[in-house]
Symmetry: C4
Subunit: 191 residues, 4 copies
């Protein structure tokens, strides 16, 4: 089975997720900067979520580069990832509306945790299909970042009730860690 439509559908869903989030930034009635001030938490929340969805798209792109074919299990593992990513706009909006209160920040972390687990399952399903000796398996390698990210989220979630900004700082830390694109696959694929 070819990977083309799975890429196209994923691109579509991620493009919509990243764009509808901005709809939460409703234009206020007042025409001065004071009218924009209440939107600042929503803006900060949106900016981080834009980066997270971008990271997922980027890594998805890199992962699929090394893929030769897909099967039913991979399609469902991919849809499972898109399911949790589809909650990012909700988590973003709840966090932004409530000015980074503990519960919304914890829920946001839970959505990120579930998406990270789903991405891990997807990459394992792809390796299972291509074999442990495949270019893909070599390229994914030890996958340090993929394994440490859910651990950081799992630590951040309870921390949100101690300090929401500390938890949020940990999310930002994970984002920064991933912002350097996954050069392992690029390196392995290069001649």
């Amino acid at each position: 089975m070819k990977k083309g439509r799975m890429e196209a559908f994923s691109d579509g869903v991620m493009a919509i997720i990243i764009t509808i989030m901005v709809l939460e930034l409703t234009a206020p009635e007042g025409a001065d900067p004071a009218a924009l001030r209440p939107l600042i938490p929503t803006f900060i929340s949106y900016a981080l979520s834009f980066i997270f969805i971008s990271i997922y798209w980027n890594n998805h792109h890199h992962l699929l580069q090394a893929v030769e074919h897909v099967d039913g299990r991979v399609l469902w593992a991919n849809l499972h990832l898109l399911f949790w990513l589809s909650f990012v706009p909700f988590g973003t909006a709840w966090m932004g509306k409530n000015n980074f209160a503990s519960w919304p920040v914890a829920l946001y972390g839970a959505i990120l945790l579930l998406a990270a687990i789903a991405y891990f399952i997807l990459s394992r399903a792809l390796i299972a299909l291509h074999g442990q000796d495949s270019v893909l398996a070599t390229a994914v390698g030890r996958d340090f970042k993929g394994k440490i990210s859910p651990v950081i989220y799992a630590i951040a979630i309870p921390l949100a009730f101690v300090s929401a900004w500390l938890a949020y700082g940990l999310y930002v830390f994970v984002a920064v860690m991933w912002l350097i694109p996954d050069r392992r696959i690029e390196k392995t694929l290069a001649p």
Copy 2:
């Protein structure tokens, strides 16, 4: 006529349908779990609809794999399917907002029934174009699941007025039945 743009347009519409449904989950003003409680029916409703649209995308993908070309009739049969699928967000929202009352559950079943019939018409239009001896016709085969699904929906719709949860259980049953991707086509296409 090539199938590429029909696939791309269908991917686009299904990606949008699956993503805009989550907009019904409006972030509440309160920042504690109690504020999320009223959203639980909407969440359950959304999760099932996500799975149904995923199943349609998955089966559409499998069906089109075996297709070599399309014609005007196929394009319209496909648009007819997308028309009914476009009501899934409405049915999902009505059901979620009214906590699975009888009428919304029955309407949801009616939308699923109309989409199932439209999918059946699409597969027949494709077989008519490729011939009864084609790889596609062999791959679709007896199409037991495609024929039993509308029957179950037709039974579930009146049952919604006896017990909405019984009807909903039947929808879940159909979803579970389909979750196993359509291996018939994969098997026939495999060398």
Copy 3:
């Protein structure tokens, strides 16, 4: 210049237009059929608009089949068409909300007229690029339906102030006329 991205962008915009229209069908709070009754005009309005966007997508698909390359003028003629099509959801909603009053029905006709003119300009820009002896020019041919549609819209718009349903009937007539896909291009391209 290749036509691939122009097709992809047009598919994306048309897929979004056709899907966001259904957002006007807001799920009501009441859980019985009476709660759905006020939505009937919006539903009728949506169904016709779905068919119109489907016709445009279908004809766009047929037209681009015979196209070999595009240039800057064609890209802008295409964006001009998408601009007017992007008003179809607004026209649909205004007409549905106001139960087919004269002004909304007239405006809907005006949007259809402007889109039809834009489509005509696009097809001429493509013929100008490919030459009067090209497969495309032969395939488009006399383009009777493309020329009569704007005339019917121009007649329907003032008629909306006599009888909105008469004007609406003329729009339905144009839709039915186009529902038969454009076999001229298929015929000319066939070996």
Copy 4:
């Protein structure tokens, strides 16, 4: 790394941005032309933004034509461009709702300025990857329009507090300047 998915994702995001802007044009309850009058500023605002997103899509299309491959830096430069473009609907809505008051017009200019800088960075990242002697570098050339546009925006932003319509006129001027598609790349690529 191939450019296909970067093009597809960008097409998706730009198609959604251009289409969701029209959702700001909420259909009014009244059924006469007077009910539409308050929407006129929103319409004017939308029309210009439609043209700006179209120009970006068009130039993006032209730029990527000459591109042979992409890397991680290019992917992030592209996501950076999409980030600022995603604020165009917000800027458009704020400007339309407040009838072109100074602050909203200035913010709109700031969004255009940031998007223009992001586009400049993207084109430089692509040239850095392909080399100063590449077809791409020759095609982009001196890039007069790409350099003058941010300068005009930077002048227009403070001018918005003198006369919002003067600033708006400068935005229109930039749009008109770009409406002539970028023939440099077309010319260099032509045999």
